[in-house]
Amino acid sequence: MSANLTHEPIEGEHFTVTSESTGDVWEIVVGLEVHCELATATKLFCSCPNMFGDEPNTNVCPVCLGLPGSLPVLNHQVVELAMRLGRALNCSVEPSVFARKNYFYPDMPKDYQVSQFDRPINVDGWLDLPDGTRVGIERAHIEEDTGKNSHAGGSGRIHGADYSLVDYNRAGVPLVEIVGRPHIRHPEQAKAYIDELRAILLATGASDAKMEEGSLRVDANVSVRRVGDTELGKRCEVKNLNSLRSLGRAIEYEARRQVDLLETGERVKQETRHWDEGAGRTRPGRSKEEAEDYRYFQEPDLVPLAPSAEWVTAIDAAMPSLPAARRVALAEAAGVEPTETAVVVAVQRDLDALALAAIAAGGDGTRVLLHVEHNLAVDGAESLDPAHFAQLVTLEVAGQLTATQAKTVLGDMVESGKAPEVIAAERGFEAMDTSELEGIVDGIIAESPDEWADYCGGDDKRRGKLQGFFVGKVMKATKGQADGKAVNAVLDARRAASS
């Protein structure tokens, strides 16, 4: 790999791969296809439970097993959730039809998948990333999930296994496939897109969106082109991305691979590639001798699906507050920009309601957000009493608690539910008066004359290191009760005096 990935934005939004050999600048183009399982009580076309992790082949019936003579009946809740998601993604809801996608695979009971092809239910929407990038959504259509194969004995892979087992519990589970347009320009943006989509899926109740359980599955179409080119390059579809980390790494790897190919005069072959997390690379899928022809045609066992305008209106009316709007609300309350990391994180962690309440109860916005971002990534944070949270922040701003103390008290508050003053008193956290602190600092300076001389006379880098040394000593001496800022102020004053 010679191509070097930089994070330098071009015109504020593009990111590039710069070739070390030629110095050419390439742009990464990514479009994501996301399959998510809808959080319905029952499957797409039958009344079997839609449950993850049950005994194999227990949630099955003639319909989802595709037994001869069985027929599908569309689950109303699937349509409801799919439309809710579509509207949250700013799609228009269209009259749609189901189609059969024909191919043989043992985990697919009918040897065709019921999906939507040329007339999907949700079309032409978009999703705004927290950084302001708008990613187009081509479509979000309904389809059925397949079962799951497991291969046993031999090599343990499909070719060379002694035998294979199929679990049809997942067969017929409702999916929505969200096809994003190729508007993503960087691995981090791809991750942000999935994060944002997941937040929307959770907010709308459409899916539990768990990548590790497979209820949210991401395929990435990756291509590269020279900056300034308007034509899209040949793309590869990267599969087997089981985490956000894999997604980012795979895009980066794939982009570099393609740039290397193109720079050495080779071509990118349009193909499906699988991400190998262990090896940190993508590999071509099993090459098919012929192009897949799915022979789509309208599913004759189902009637066209044309949700009424009233239904769409009712969905819009009941739409919960979505992440983008929640970020704006929180940013306004806290007096910061909605793109601020703390704001993004607060909404992602579903702690924006708590932060808003704490701010409303008089807590300082910036301090509240700071705690949410850094100190509240713990279970139970969401049940924190906002009034207590506000009191804590107020004590901190008033200088009655140091930042370190405040963090400790906050942790205790989540655990015990007690008020911050109570916890501070129990822990013996009290504001230290200046003369007491000065005495302690002077004592420590006296204990370390060499370091002090160095601190006063050395260069900035040296001084920076020694500042840490002195502050550390003071903290140790005060059992962490000293305020770091106050310590620095005393040190500065003493240095100024000694020169």
């Binding site: 003639p62 097993l65 595709g66 037994l67 001869p68 003579g69 069985s70 027929l71 599908p72 009946v73 569309l74 059969r100 024909n102 043989f104 043992p106 009971p109 009918k110 040897d111 065709y112 499909i158 070719h159 294979s164 199929v166 022809d293 022979r295 789509y296 045609f297 004759p300 066992d301 189902l302 009637v303």
Partner: protein
């Protein structure tokens, strides 16, 4: 033993009144099966024990003062592509041999709830693909009127069972004429209801957008009785019409006074045997004599029905039959890889005609051919609907032959698929339109074999269609009455 009633209506009335027992009715039919089934081969499976238990249960209900329903104690034969819980359902295919569905088709539930006694599973062309029942993996069914001839198909077993007196009524399925054509060739009544009137749940699919279950019987009234029992909305079939079963028995005696009935020009000329066409004209005269106005009407697109059908039906079939892959049920021929196992199983399990249609359908849907074949066929289908719509602006019913000829001899058409396909030229347009149609026996042809005339109606026009059928039935010459 007193003479037992022979029609379903009479049997049910007598059983409900306690005048005869369901068991003795069943025994008489089992005796008829014993006597002739060897030469006819109407059944893949005779359910003697199960039927006896069901008949005894009907008798017990009557004894307890309950009403077992409108089909009380009536023996009924089921085409072997209707799922029966715990009872083998083969579609006359090796690939499904031994498979026992874990559920009953909706129609099977409904006839049982009406008191009928399922007497057996009848033979068919494999997966209902054929017009002679010669494509069965379990040997052909023979025409009870002349065992050197075919009974028609694909529901040849259900038609023959009724014609031979093995059961007064039976159920078949009709995708392109598979009820009406064998009814005509065997000299019984057969009805293809409006698409969506009868639930398809539990009918093993051939071509989902065309398949429809319907009755066979010796009389028009019995078909009305059976259709009333099986029709009506079923939430398990999304294409089921949300409407209650029509009243048919009540309207049978209303006659045809004032009805406008059109003879379909395209189905009376080339390709139709003169003796058959003559019988259809004779039936038209009878309807006219009963007060109907007879005219001629053109349904131009009907001429393209056959071509469109042989793209649409195989296309759907190629997808519907994909599931027989050896993975979950039925036959499996082992091979080193899954794909090879799929191929080996399907190669061994399917007969030639099924393979031919799977290949036709796969081709018609393939990238690059879809528009020219499947896509164009869908357009023709729309044209046919439009032409029928125009015809029904001026006519209440249409009239045509059911089949271009009377029953042909075994092997006559097996070497030439196209001549076999042409057998369905009169019945296919109805399926493409989704309309109802029925075949009513009307005397014999030059060879003394039965002729069927076909009555066609617009969607949900069953009541009017049955009124005319009753008139045709009453006017029908006997089979023995020489063809003039």
């Amino acid at each position: 033993m007193p003479d037992l009633p022979t029609t379903a209506l009479d049997i049910a009335a007598a059983v409900r009144a306690g005048e005869v027992s369901a068991v003795e009715v069943l025994d008489a039919h089992l005796a008829a099966i014993d006597a002739r089934e060897g030469e006819i081969n109407a059944f893949n499976l005779v359910l003697a024990d199960e039927a006896r238990a069901a008949a005894a249960a009907v008798d017990a209900r009557v004894a307890a003062g309950e009403d077992p329903g409108p089909l009380a104690g009536v023996p009924l034969a089921l085409k072997d592509n209707l799922c029966t819980r715990g009872v083998p359902t083969t579609c006359s295919s090796r690939i499904l041999e031994g498979w026992r569905p874990p559920y009953d088709a909706t129609v099977v539930q409904r006839v049982a709830a009406a008191g009928a006694v399922a007497i057996g599973k009848t033979n068919l062309d494999e997966f209902a693909m054929g017009s002679s029942t010669e494509n069965s993996a379990f040997g052909p069914t023979r025409n009870p009127r002349d065992t050197a001839r075919v009974p028609g198909g694909s529901s040849g077993g259900s038609a023959a069972a009724v014609a031979a007196g093995f059961a007064p009524i039976s159920l078949g399925s009709d995708t392109g004429g598979s009820i009406r054509q064998p009814a005509a060739l065997c000299g019984v009544v057969g009805v293809k209801p409006t698409y969506g009137l009868v639930s398809r749940y539990g009918l093993v699919a051939f071509a989902s957008s065309l398949d429809q279950i319907g009755p066979f019987s010796t009389t028009v009234a019995d078909s009305a009785l059976l259709l009333e029992a099986i029709a009506g909305h079923d939430h398990r079939d999304s294409t089921s019409i949300d409407q209650a079963a029509p009243s048919l028995l009540d309207v049978l005696d209303r006659g045809v006074e004032g009805l406008r009935i059109g003879l379909v020009t395209e189905l009376m000329g080339e390709g139709i045997a003169p003796d058959v066409a003559a019988r259809v004209r004779q039936a038209a005269e009878a309807l006219s004599a009963a007060g109907a106005t007879i005219g001629e009407v053109s349904v131009p697109a009907a001429s393209y029905g056959l071509s469109a059908y042989y793209l649409i039906a195989p296309a759907e079939a190629s997808s519907n039959l994909a599931r027989y892959d050896g993975v979950r049920y039925g036959m499996r021929v082992d091979a080193p890889t899954t794909a090879e196992m799929n191929t080996a199983t399907r190669t061994a399990g399917f007969g030639d005609e099924v393979k031919r249609r799977i290949m036709l359908g796969t081709y018609a849907l393939s990238a690059g051919y879809y528009d020219a074949y499947y896509g164009k066929a869908l357009k023709v289908r729309t044209l046919i609907m439009r032409d029928f719509e125009a015809a029904y602006e001026n006519f209440d019913l249409l009239l045509s032959p059911t089949s271009p000829t009377t029953a042909f001899r075994f092997g006559d058409k097996t070497d030439d698929p196209l001549s076999m396909y042409l057998n369905d030229i009169c019945t296919i347009p109805t399926n493409l339109a989704g309309h109802p149609a029925m075949s009513v026996p009307f005397g014999g042809g030059a060879d003394g074999m039965p002729v069927g005339v076909q009555l066609l109606a617009p969607a949900l026009g069953e009541a009017t269609m049955f009124r005319a059928a009753a008139v045709v039935e009453a006017a029908a010459p006997s089979l023995e009455e020489a063809y003039a």
